[in-house]
């Protein structure tokens, strides 16, 4: 049977050290939304560079990107 539906291209990223496959295209804002996180409470590093919160909507993720998504927890 002929596959008529076009599958969205997938994007393989490393999120907090784990490999994840997500539908492309995707921005940092889109990723945070898809993960169910509150942008006001996290910070994002992409390939060891900070992504400013103001740039989440225009930062498009690329295959192989390594992202660290962190927040504040209890510590001394």
């Amino acid at each position: 049977m002929l596959q008529t539906e076009v599958m969205p291209p997938s994007l393989v990223l490393t999120l907090n050290g784990e490999s994840r496959s997500l539908d492309a295209p995707l921005t940092v804002a889109g990723l945070i939304g898809r993960l169910g996180l509150d942008t006001r409470k996290v910070a994002v590093e992409r390939n060891e560079a900070i992504v400013p919160r103001s740039a989440y909507h225009e930062t498009w993720l690329e295959p192989g990107d390594a992202l660290e998504i962190v927040h504040f927890i209890g510590g001394g």
């Binding site: 999120l15 907090n16 050290g17 784990e18 993960l35 169910g36 996180l37 006001r40 409470k41 996290v42 910070a43 994002v44 590093e45 060891e48 900070i50 992504v51 400013p52 919160r53 660290e68 998504i69 962190v70 927040h71 504040f72 927890i73 209890g74 510590g75 001394g76």
Partner: protein, 270 residues
């Protein structure tokens, strides 16, 4: 979160306070937010301590549980000055990366730098601490630095631009108390920035001693979090820091080698 930190704006000028990096605080007790049973207990103990500044760690979000409660939901960053730390970082590079993330998450640049050696002592790695402090100061951070009770190292950190010097009283989490009052006194005497004892305080009298010898503030975590009743211990620490500070301001009596009766020796009955 916005980046505007306004510490105790209602503070009257004559009230006892201390200032670090242009921010003024009335409470001289800085507390950690780690090691508590849960976030409710964290919030209750911090409230009871009267602290205005709290240390926090930066860690990966658990992506499998994105709706898990977060520290900010219990310890309001608008009410408390968050002091992000570099716990777990053993290199300058890791410390800088961690605090850049913290700055983005929180929006402010006042941080606690700690670069530790290996267990079991977790003693400050001063070579790596100097390297990280230099990188952070160049990047615009205001660095409160955990360090050895070494007056040469402490002075150098101050000259580099660190905004507070935070020597240990004893190893982190040991609760051994202030083991080095003479060295701390030397550090305090020469310092042009606030000095805080960070690490080692185990009980209220330890915190009082730190303040009596002239520290500007005390930073502790385990002494409260690992007490049987953390909320009550938080109150004890608040009182101890206040008592030690008052004692310092009052000026203690001189020590003497022998007794000096408190009641007059005249007018005795015969």
């Amino acid at each position: 979160m916005d980046g505007a930190i306004q510490a105790t704006p209602e503070l009257a000028p004559q009230e006892d306070s201390w200032t670090v990096a242009g921010r003024r605080f009335r409470s001289r007790l800085v507390v950690g937010t780690g090691k508590y049973k849960d976030l409710e207990e964290t919030a209750a103990a911090i409230e009871a301590s009267g602290a205005e500044m709290v240390t926090v760690a930066v860690r990966r979000v658990n992506l499998s549980d994105p709706k898990a409660p977060m520290l900010q939901d219990y310890v309001d960053p608008k009410r408390y000055t968050y002091l992000p730390n570099t716990a777990g970082c053993h290199t300058a590079k890791d410390a800088v990366r961690t605090l850049r993330l913290a700055r983005e998450a929180g929006g402010w640049n006042l941080v606690k730098l700690e670069v530790l050696g290996p267990p079991p002592h977790l003693y400050p790695d001063m070579t790596a601490t100097f390297e990280a402090a230099d990188a952070l100061i160049r990047d615009g951070f205001e660095v409160m630095v955990y360090c050895a009770d070494d007056p040469v190292a402490a002075k150098r950190l101050e000259e580099m631009g660190c905004v507070a010097i935070m020597p240990l009283g004893a190893p982190i989490g040991s609760g051994l108390g202030v083991q080095n009052p003479a060295m701390l006194s030397l550090l305090i005497e020469q310092a042009g920035v606030p000095v805080l004892v960070d690490a080692g305080v185990g009980t209220a009298s330890d915190a009082a001693i730190a303040m009596e010898i002239g520290c500007d503030a005390v930073l502790l975590n385990s002494a409260i979090a690992h007490a049987k009743d953390p909320v009550r211990m938080a109150r004890a620490m608040k009182a101890a820091v206040e008592a030690g500070r008052l004692c310092r301001l009052a000026g203690r009596m001189p020590r003497r080698m022998g007794a000096d009766p408190s009641s007059p020796l005249t007018g005795l009955i015969k």
